[in-house]
């Protein structure tokens, strides 16, 4: 792997880790949704890094296409997540879902 690619992959993995931590650890829904996006961005960086074949070399287009698909999917998921989160806030007054609500 080229050095640039290694750097991007490592940064991508670290971003992924940071996003995963925030998604799991913090209760505010908006923060969780942002964390999910950070996880996604980290993953996309890893893909882009894999596509790098060297400076001024033709790139591997498959990971680039995968990332475009991934971005669109992430945007759609975020859209639904936000709609749900705002509905949770509207129904319960709090933008969070911790605390047990096992049954109605």
């Amino acid at each position: 792997m080229t050095e640039t690619a290694l750097l991007y992959m490592v940064v991508g993995v670290v971003l992924f880790g940071m996003g995963l931590f925030a998604l799991v650890a913090y209760p505010h829904l908006l923060r969780k949704i942002l964390a999910m996006n950070v996880m996604g961005t980290g993953t996309f960086m890893v893909f882009i890094a894999i596509a790098h074949n060297g400076d001024n070399q033709p790139i591997d287009p498959i990971p680039h296409a995968l990332v475009i698909t991934g971005i669109v999917v992430a945007v759609c998921s975020t859209g639904l997540a936000l709609a749900l989160a705002s509905q949770v806030q509207a129904l319960t007054g709090q933008p969070r879902i911790d605390g047990s609500e096992r049954e109605e």
């Binding site: 993995v13 992924f16 880790g17 790139i59 591997d60 698909t69 759609c76 936000l82 509905q87």
Partner: protein
């Protein structure tokens, strides 16, 4: 602005601020969070080590896509992969776009314009100047996508931005006639893609197998439809609900 309590403030005010700013509690590193942090850190380190262990000589698909590019009808490798070689993925992705709108509309109440922008003359004039330009840029991005980075998604994103500007500046109130166009506009991308995929089967190939030599035409038609749908979907996601639609309580026809 969040005012953090500090030692210079009188203690009663500090306590009041601390109670109001529950955000502080949100980010405190409780013992439970330390455990999660440790686990995630371990995972990250392991993954970084795996990154360094990726062999250098793995043959990926760069050469193969270059070699078969002429058969794809476009001259940009990423577009070729996206719309032709792995077009089935793109079809499913356009489906995700429509599904997310259906999901948002089923969950949320009536759409609300989330941004209150002061309606100044400068804004109104500027937006009216920008909007046609954005349409042209979107069309251009769509058209050149076959040769350089670009295509339906990029064009659709610009259209989406245009739509957001339109709504935020409250340039026009979409009347009921335009609202009736909304659902068709949202589905047209996925519908064209699906139709092309099915038609390809009828014409004697497998799903999405564009006929020899006609790939570019088919791609252009599908991508144009998709650009509209993508733009409309992004705007609808921004609105977070069905414009003028029934709220969940009505139960009347939507």
């Amino acid at each position: 602005m969040i005012v953090t309590p500090n030692r210079m403030m009188p203690s009663r005010k500090r306590r009041k601020l601390r109670d109001e700013n529950y955000i502080d509690d949100d980010v405190k590193l409780t013992p439970a969070r330390r455990v999660i942090l440790a686990m995630v850190a371990v995972l990250t380190v392991v993954l970084v080590m795996a990154v360094f262990a990726v062999p250098d000589d793995v043959v990926r698909l760069t050469q193969l896509t270059e070699d078969r590019l002429p058969e794809s009808g476009v001259s940009n490798t990423v577009t070729a992969v996206l719309i032709n070689f792995r077009g089935y993925d793109t079809f499913l992705e356009v489906s995700v776009l429509l599904l997310s709108i259906i999901g948002v509309w089923s969950v949320a109440r009536r759409a609300r314009v989330p941004v209150k922008v002061p309606n100044t003359p400068v804004l109104r004039v500027f937006v009216r100047l920008l909007m046609p330009l954005m349409v042209i840029v979107a069309g251009y991005l769509l058209w050149i996508g076959s040769d350089v980075p670009g295509g339906a998604f990029q064009g659709g994103a610009v259209l989406g931005g245009m739509g957001v500007l339109w709504i935020a500046a409250a340039v026009d109130d979409p009347g009921s006639r335009e609202r009736r166009l909304l659902r068709p506009l949202l589905i047209v991308g996925m519908a064209f893609f699906l139709g092309a995929g099915a038609l390809a089967i009828v014409v004697g190939g497998s799903m999405m197998q564009y006929p020899e030599g006609e790939a570019k035409t088919w791609i252009l038609i599908i991508e144009s439809a998709a650009t509209f749908s993508i733009g409309a979907t992004l705007v609808m996601l921004f609105l977070g609900g069905q414009p003028g639609g029934s709220s969940r309580e009505d139960g009347k026809k939507s």
